[in-house]
């Protein structure tokens, strides 16, 4: 391949000179695009934009989405910190690994099949097979955008990853890690990919006119609903309702909240896929709405207990971000303030009351992402306006938009709940979802990962390596 590359370089010297004035990132892209066509000259990309080299590939947009991809990728480790701080010290590694493992597992499945099921041309309910295992995805511009198809694929992949990781908050401290891995693997293909197709990939909800700018329905309602079902199916932690489970590291949780907000600029602003006024609008709304939620949340806490809590503030930021996600590219900044403020109320009271119920949704994924997502999706139907890039919503004389949003919410909840339940039934037929009582009591870090998050190493005896590495494996205890 290297030799061929050299010939091509010699042939197009004049062409290359012109490029010298281009930004370095774009030069790189052009360079690699060449490679792409050399390697695969007889596999034309079926997308219409794939014909030779498209001038529509705008370097500044490409750079913007490259940065946004990095930002959204950062959100999953940020979620690991957020969730990790909220659990007890003996489960921190297990909790953080649930997010980190999603990057590897869901990310690979996204490349192999998820992206194709979500974004290749297909039916109303699921995409086709044109992009299985990265087939026909190259440097050519993706239809309807000004960025390379490969980049669009990677950007969307970061969304699939964090959506699966979000669910873990509902089942921390008790679900077996291997069962969790099986669950998110199936879930990302059976639930996330189809719903992404419904809304963004040319499916029925998008065709109907449901507005979801950056994933309020696709990401947060699916994750919130799945969290509810998994929390029920996996069951409560053994001392739930008898013993308080306190966060072991609130500063870590707040660090996670800060990084989530930072990454969310790429999540929402980046969803414009171009450097334009929509990106500015989405970014500004992503800044404003959580501010309003945070301020409202603090007032609510003052009113109820007279003290504003840090865990509450971290939660409020996430609720505000979730609520503005579907709306950020369709509403005015004033509406974003209103959405942020309004969204604080339902989530605040749901999270407040949830602790007294039998639903051990341990880190309140339902309250933050489910309720916040539904409120955001519905308020999008209220505040959206043509002048700000959406369709007119209720306040702009089109109540039908609210109805469409309601259908989108209902269909997403329905499918997610049924499919999530089905996946868990299948997995529990093969293996058990729960860690056994002793592992749960001792903490899943040692039981599932053979590590501790916080240890000074006292009492640790170095084991000399033997020829058989399995000889030192922790004893497996899986009594019923």
């Amino acid at each position: 391949m290297h030799a061929k590359n050299c010939t091509i370089r010699c042939l197009c010297t004049t062409n290359r000179n012109k490029r010298a004035s281009l930004p370095i990132i774009y030069q790189l892209i052009l360079h690699f695009r060449q490679d792409f066509y050399i390697i695969r000259p007889f596999q034309p990309d079926p997308t219409p934009a794939a014909a030779p080299v498209q001038p529509a590939n705008t370097p500044v947009d490409t750079l913007f989405v490259i940065i946004s991809t990095a930002l959204v990728l950062l959100m999953t480790p940020a979620l690991a910190l957020f969730y990790g701080g909220l659990v007890r010290a003996k489960n921190i590694l297990n909790t953080m690994m649930m997010s980190l493992a999603a990057i590897g597992l869901v990310g690979v499945l996204w490349a192999l099949a998820g992206y194709s099921l979500a974004f290749s041309t297909g039916g109303a309910f699921v995409g086709g097979m044109h992009h299985l295992a990265l087939a026909n995805i190259g440097f050519a511009v993706r239809d309807g955008t000004t960025i390379p198809h490969l980049l669009y694929f990677a950007y969307q992949g970061t969304f699939a990853v964090i959506t699966a990781a979000l669910i873990s908050g509902a089942i921390v401290e008790r679900m077996r890690f291997s069962a969790y891995l099986a669950f998110i693997a199936l879930w990302s293909l059976i639930v996330y990919a189809p719903v992404a197709h419904w809304v963004w990939g040319g499916g029925w909800l998008g065709a109907m006119g449901v507005l979801d700018f950056a994933g309020g329905t696709v990401v947060h309602i699916t994750a919130g609903t799945a969290a509810w079902v998994t929390a029920i199916m996996v069951g409560q932690r053994r001392d739930y309702g008898r013993q308080a489970f306190l966060p072991h590291n609130v500063p870590m949780m707040l660090t996670g909240a800060a990084l989530l907000w930072f990454g969310w600029v790429g999540f929402n602003g980046g969803s414009a896929l171009a450097v334009n006024s929509v990106a500015v609008q989405a970014t500004v709304n992503t800044v404003l709405a959580p501010m309003a939620t945070l301020a409202t949340w603090i007032l609510l806490e003052y009113r109820r207990t007279g003290r504003a809590t840090a865990v509450g503030a971290g939660t409020a930021i996430v609720v505000g971000l979730v609520a503005i996600t579907p709306a950020c590219g369709f509403v005015s900044p004033r509406a974003a303030l209103a959405i942020g403020a309004i969204a604080a109320f339902p989530s605040y009271f749901v999270i407040l009351k949830r602790a007294a119920t039998r639903l051990d949704d341990s880190l309140d994924v339902v309250g933050a992402h489910g309720v916040g997502g539904v409120v955001g999706a519905l308020l999008t139907g209220v505040f959206a306006s043509k002048a700000w890039g959406g369709a007119d919503g209720l306040l702009h004389g089109a109540p039908s938009q609210l109805l469409k949003q309601l259908i989108g919410v209902g269909a997403t909840i329905g499918w997610t709940a049924v499919a999530t339940w089905g996946i868990l039934v299948i997995i529990s037929a093969v293996t058990t979802l729960r860690a056994d009582a002793r592992d749960e009591a001792a903490g899943l870090d040692v039981a599932d990962h053979g590590e501790e998050g916080y240890t000074d190493g006292e009492g640790a005896i170095l084991v000399l390596q033997t020829a058989d590495p399995t000889a030192n494996r922790a004893p497996v205890r899986r009594s019923a």
Partner: protein
């Protein structure tokens, strides 16, 4: 008077406290300790390093009680801390020479009897 010293599993602490409360035992000291009592040590891996964790995290309770409370205290701890596996811990009952309540200067049995909270 006796000093009851109990070494228990950390995860049983809440149950033990609850059980002691129900047995009307008030006033105790809890500390986090590490120890080893013959249970199977677990193995951890950090990159290429494999270690056996010989010392287990335990909770140590110290409770000064009058004679009539010794048996109820021991019963309450045993009942709540037992899981049946190696590593449940031990209870030591020690004789106590003198007890002084710092606030009032009361001594011995009076010092280990809780104030009536009415």
């Amino acid at each position: 008077m006796k000093l009851v010293v109990a070494i228990i599993r950390p995860e049983r602490l809440n149950a033990v406290l609850e059980s002691l409360y129900n047995a009307d035992v008030r006033g105790l000291t809890v500390s986090k300790v590490q120890g080893h009592g013959g249970e199977v040590e677990h193995v951890e891996n950090y990159r290429g390093v494999t270690v056996k964790m010989d010392l287990q995290a335990k909770m140590r309770l110290e409770i000064g009680v009058s004679e009539s409370f010794v048996q109820p205290t021991v019963d309450a701890i045993v009942h709540a801390a037992r899981t049946g596996d190696v590593g449940d811990g031990k209870i030591f009952v020690l004789p106590v020479e003198r007890v002084i309540r710092i606030r009032t200067g009361e001594e011995d049995t009076r010092a280990v009897t809780p104030e009536d909270r009415d």
